[in-house]
Assembly symmetry: C2
Homo-oligomer: 415 residues x 2
């Protein structure tokens, strides 16, 4: 059964995308700046709607960390507005490209163009509504937003404020649409609207991502899950290793580029682990160790087979003593979600082998996994971190929200 | 129910891909050249197996055009061998990339790496077995091949010859595997083996492509269907328009970049269409015309609504008289499969509008749609033509069989 209302949203988005594709950067930037102003002008209304979301969440007994993700403040709204201004300042990838000329005189231009219609499916944070819409718009795309049901009142106001501003500034109706219905069947249909939607980007927990991958017929960019590893080689400089592990694990444990598993070469385990553990405990981290780890660290909880593939997103670290680089690579091959992996080593050849042989979006030598981020990579902003190999891998900025088209200049050529 | 045999193939492919990823070009090229020799040395066996496929197909009463696609000759096998030598000669995209340095000293290398494991699903032509394996291997990927059941005997021999050569030359077992079972459930499972397969590329008719898109959870690169249009503008040079239309329609009508619909501006229709039709009829093309076309061309068959979205792949052309560029663009927006579209025009601004506003992999001015091809674009060889927007669009060469990985050189950086 088709939901005609949703198909109509798809048609509107596709029609809008057709026009958005050839807007100039100046026009798009002006709209983004106007949206920033509009957010400020509507702070009261946004906060009121958000307060109702927060209240409903508390009534439902939602976890405090989730309620906090949901909560907006005036400063938070100002930050969203600032985010819009930053996106306005980013270089526009649309219209870039290269060209070459064939022996028969055909001139082939490979031109960067918008993807078309992007469906964003995300969870509790209402700021994603504004961030995602801004990035999609700047890259010339129409967007259909579907946020979590907990944030629905906030999202309705936020999307109305920015969509209205866009329309007032002459952008086609349907450029930014929010799916206000949060029932499962609506998402199911959205995921299969190949005639109208070019790409689906899920952003959220492992369950959301899995549902999208299992059900979508529209192409998906998988984001997110990060079971990230650090391997401390026998040649590691402990003065680098300890701060990198602490930073990767504790600086923001709830995010996908945080460390989940520490692998330590057995030849240094007895020296390194007690020093490392002291710092970890000082930061409130629980250690779940392999048998050898537990023998060295009496305070460690014994790890089970379930720990190795687990993304804790919490102050918990699984620790395994390994027999050198080969076993570390095997462990990572088996349990990695191909997000971010780091080796701490002073040995050149082992560092190079790690870089070459680990299959992940970002592979580091002597640096924190927390750098895997569009902003920290220098892209200015990101719509998510791709853990798949097709289209985009790692932090996705504006360029990853575009595709290419061949424009070919002929003078009567035939084959 | 999982088929353990197929999961085992997946495991083998994944293990092989891990090693293939860092083979040097020289090693890969040597294997490709050895495969070419092996094909020649096994001509007899290949032709015997193929004769049995052809016989079985004829017994089953398969259409003559399909039997012809299936049939191999000694010259055809020599051509496959030549194809292998050509792929060996292509530049290897693996290991290319760019790098930049962040203010904190982190050096970020964006490096081209293989996709990993590619599943190719295709139809009757046995040469795809060799072509696809060669391209996947050259780009450092393991491949699982699944050809049409009609060609199964040919494919078994071909894949055995090249896989054995690869193994003898030291490539890991599982680098090239043929799925010998042709039952539907095997393909169904292959399409959902996300743990082992990185990408599925279907190559074949619209039915095959649709099945793959509807059932795959593994990322897909959609290839193929081409309802290609030519729009003849009021400023068209007939001396260009007529050869371009004839070439696009008749040079090889059974392929995806062949022309299916001709759109003619009404202001020139009375002059242009009779000249055009004369040439089309001379080439044996049936014309299915809109009402206005039929009024001008008494020999035209009246087109129905079903003609406009149809990929004939035959000597049939649908023809519609339109009110200028806007109506042409609307028609293309509605019926295009986003493959290849061409405008024949001398007016600069209308040519530019067509290039900009048509959303397709390849958009031409004054050239035949038949140029949309990896070889003709200068890529050397192609694995298919993508009609989706994610990852690759248009002809896919070796580069499109790779992804990127960030390799980041630090010296103790934390966030």
């Amino acid at each position: 059964m088709e939901l005609p209302e949703l198909a109509e949203m798809g048609r509107r988005a596709k029609a809008a995308a057709r026009k958005l594709a050839f807007l100039g950067s100046a026009e798009k930037n002006a709209v983004l700046l106007a949206m920033a102003d509009a957010l400020r002008e509507n702070v009261e209304e946004i906060l009121t709607a958000n307060a109702r979301d927060v209240e409903a969440a508390e009534d439902k007994g939602l976890k405090k960390s989730l309620v906090n993700r949901l909560r907006l403040t005036e400063a938070g709204i100002e930050q969203m507005a600032e985010g819009l201004r930053e996106v306005a300042g980013l270089a526009d990838p649309v219209g870039e490209g290269e060209f070459w000329t064939r022996p028969n005189g055909l001139r082939i231009q490979r031109t960067r163009v918008p993807l078309g219609v992007i469906a964003m499916i995300y969870e509790a944070r209402p700021n994603v509504t504004v961030d995602a819409a801004a990035l999609c718009l700047k890259a010339g795309n129409a967007v259909i937003l579907r946020g979590g049901s907990e944030a629905i009142r906030s999202n309705i106001v936020l999307s109305r404020v920015i969509a209205q501003t866009a329309e007032e500034r002459g952008l086609p109706q349907g450029s930014i649409q929010l799916l206000e219905r949060t029932e499962r069947e609506w998402v199911q249909q959205l995921l299969r609207m190949n005639d109208y939607v070019d790409v689906v980007i899920p952003r959220g927990g492992a369950g959301l991502i899995r549902t999208v991958i299992q059900n979508a017929t529209v192409p998906v960019i998988e984001t997110g899950t990060g079971v990230c590893h650090a391997y401390v080689d026998q040649t590691a400089d402990f003065a680098k290793a300890i701060p990198i592990v602490i930073n990767s694990k504790t600086q923001n444990p709830g995010v996908c580029n945080a460390l989940e598993t520490l692998l330590v070469d057995e030849s240094i385990a007895e020296n390194f682990l007690p020093l490392m553990a002291e710092e970890l405990y000082r930061h409130g981290v629980e250690i779940r160790g392999c048998r050898k780890t537990c023998a060295i660290l009496p305070g460690a909880v014994p790890a089970t087979e379930e720990d190795w593939p687990t993304e804790y997103l919490d102050l918990i670290l699984s620790v395994r003593v390994v027999q050198g680089l080969d076993q570390a690579l095997d462990h990572i091959f088996r349990y990695s979600t191909k997000h971010s992996e780091t080796i701490i080593a002073e040995d050149y050849s082992r560092a190079q082998r790690f870089l070459r042989e680990v299959d992940a979006a970002a592979v580091y030598v002597n640096a924190s996994t927390r750098f895997t981020d569009g902003g920290r990579f220098g892209f200015g902003a990101e719509i998510g971190i791709s853990t798949q190999k097709l289209h985009a891998r790692g932090p996705m900025g504006l360029r990853e929200l575009t595709t290419t088209k061949y424009m070919i200049y002929g003078s009567g050529q035939i084959v």
